[in-house]
Symmetry: C2
Subunit: 360 residues, 2 copies
């Protein structure tokens, strides 16, 4: 059981500290260094990951003690949560940790950034994503498809949930997949497009799963994508607005992000592909009249992204970036509506999937 495994790691952390004290060693924890200098792009695995630099954090060290206490406090809260079978959000965990040390006027944490960092350190120390420490990210997003899951004793059929779909929980670690009848997954950045595709029952017609959050994919969504991808070998297609922000959403799902590089193994999906919108789509589907002129910030962002190591030597992507720069404007998914109410589900997506027109 992964839960017991995480609890064991937390207990080991505590026992190691007790042993250090027993042996009159300055109590310390070893934490991989979370800094840009310790992150690299692994070309073989095709994902961002952490390098091996670690630092020791000591209790008897004025510069270390605050972080040392915060990390052990976070470990104590995680253990309590696992034992009580309860979950907290990052914000709630901050309040749970925040308290004044008796006899002093010092709080263990003053800002949420401190408890967040302690939790990230704990992820690194235990190797468990914070979801397995029962600390949840934001909840957002919906899913539909011919999938049956079991969660908290309920059996939930994703194909029989009306117009709303299943609300994706912030934590999907304990969900059991009972039946998965789908050939691929489409993740889209907008709930409006999800509702359109769901209304057209595209998941039934194309035998797929459709999933959305709003903007950047939440961790719950990313873990759900990752689990379905790993456990059922389902390809993941990403559908985003045709702009640098959409490309970045795709980039994070596929390669991971710098801030969560230490979690790439449980979050990144290197084989994920972009289904749209591409710069080629603009001409092909008559979307030129819907171009929204790039602002300086868009131009700056597209330049940044096109220089990312994982895009830099990718010819098809460089062709896209050049084309976007020439178009000098972005196109939203919603613009496809101008081509017909069901254009996306009846023409755009089926054509792309049939012709395997993906960007990798």
């Amino acid at each position: 059981m992964s839960k017991d495994n995480t609890k064991k790691k937390l207990e080991k952390l505590g026992k190691d500290l007790v042993n250090q004290i027993g042996n009159k060693i300055n109590p310390h924890v070893e934490v991989p260094i979370r800094a840009l200098s310790n992150i690299h792009f692994n070309k073989q695995k095709r994902m961002l990951e952490m390098k091996s630099a670690k630092s020791k954090r000591f209790f008897f060290n004025v510069a270390h003690v605050r972080k040392f206490v915060q990390t052990t406090e976070a470990a104590a809260v995680a253990k309590e949560l696992l034992e009580a079978d309860k979950h907290l959000s990052l914000r709630q965990t901050f309040y749970k940790i925040k308290r004044t040390i008796p006899g002093t006027n010092i709080n263990i944490v003053d800002e949420q950034s401190e408890s967040n960092e302690a939790i990230e350190d704990l992820e690194l120390i235990t190797g468990s994503p914070r979801e397995k420490l029962n600390i949840n990210a934001n909840k957002n997003g919906s899913v539909a498809g011919k999938v049956v899951v079991e969660d908290r004793g309920d059996t939930i059929d994703w194909s029989r949930l009306g117009s709303g779909g299943w609300a994706i929980p912030s934590n999907v670690e304990n969900i059991k997949f009972k039946k998965v009848n789908a050939k691929f997954i489409i993740y889209m950045e907008k709930a409006a497009e999800w509702e359109t595709l769901h209304e057209d029952r595209i998941w039934e017609k194309l035998n797929c799963i459709i999933m959305c959050s709003q903007g950047q994919a939440t961790r719950g969504v990313r873990r759900l994508l990752k689990r379905l991808h790993d456990e059922f070998k389902l390809p993941v297609y990403v559908l985003v607005d045709g702009d640098p922000w959409g490309v970045y959403i795709y980039s994070v799902i596929k390669y991971g992000s710098i801030s969560l590089a230490h979690m790439s193994d449980s979050l990144a999906i290197p084989s994920a592909r972009l289904i749209g919108l591409t710069a080629d789509d603009v001409e092909k589907y008559g979307l030129k009249r819907h171009l929204i002129k790039f602002k300086d910030i868009d131009k700056k962002r597209i330049k940044q992204i096109s220089n990312y190591e994982w895009f830099r030597d990718n010819k098809p992507w460089q062709r896209q970036f050049t084309k976007w720069k020439k178009l000098n404007g972005k196109v939203e998914l919603a613009a496809l509506t101008a081509n017909g109410l069901s254009f996306m589900s009846q023409t755009y997506l089926p054509e792309k999937i049939k012709k395997k027109e993906f960007l990798d």
Copy 2:
């Protein structure tokens, strides 16, 4: 059927215009004026509403023709949607309406603000909220409780959907309530607190429905609250952060908002009450150490809100505002976690409900 009713109103709009043309009358529509001067607080009904001032908008009038065409175009799109049984988001509707008038270089709409206004005008002309015109707002939010609904042919039991709950659709007009076993509804502004209360199965223990979106309630959420309130006489309790922004969320749910004053009858819930967080809670539940000092913008906002007509003569609320000003800080719902993992579901809410400690 409300759907047929809306369609008839749209058809009447078209027939009236055709008749005007046949009778050689300058084609026109009559639209209630959407301006602050035409909005007032109805003390009897306890909601914001529109006064009766109307304006005529003519086709043969250089100053009117653009808006006239936009409104009739929006009506045509709504009719198409109702006939096709499809829905569009506001953004998608913008793209659907946006096209160049043949033989000119003029677009029917250039900005979404134009199509949005045309749709709002259409709400006023037909008296139907845009959800009944099949034009949807943002989708967001989750719900749980002992309720069974029928939606698009599916039977959905809100008590058997695991940790995620049902994803609230943007449009809840066609949902049929098959079974509603609840004494009240708690709406909260944060998904994290919803997950905590859902994990503790508070809806089972207190026999209620729990609902959230994120921040300001979406129209889908407000319509769902309103329908459950109207059709099953369920009291609505609002649970928000202890700050002016939370109070405003409550104010909108209860009294309506200025921008949607014309829709108050189908959105506002004048009997809704605030269950927390109140300024009194801060002392009562030892939350003083979690006060986050007001910024200038918070102080300005609390002053504005306390001067709203519907709060101005409300003594219990004025007492709250005075107390908040004295506390000079806000308290978040998440802070209750510091009092124990299940403090909210086991102590805070049951006590409040038992003692009927609400602000009205």
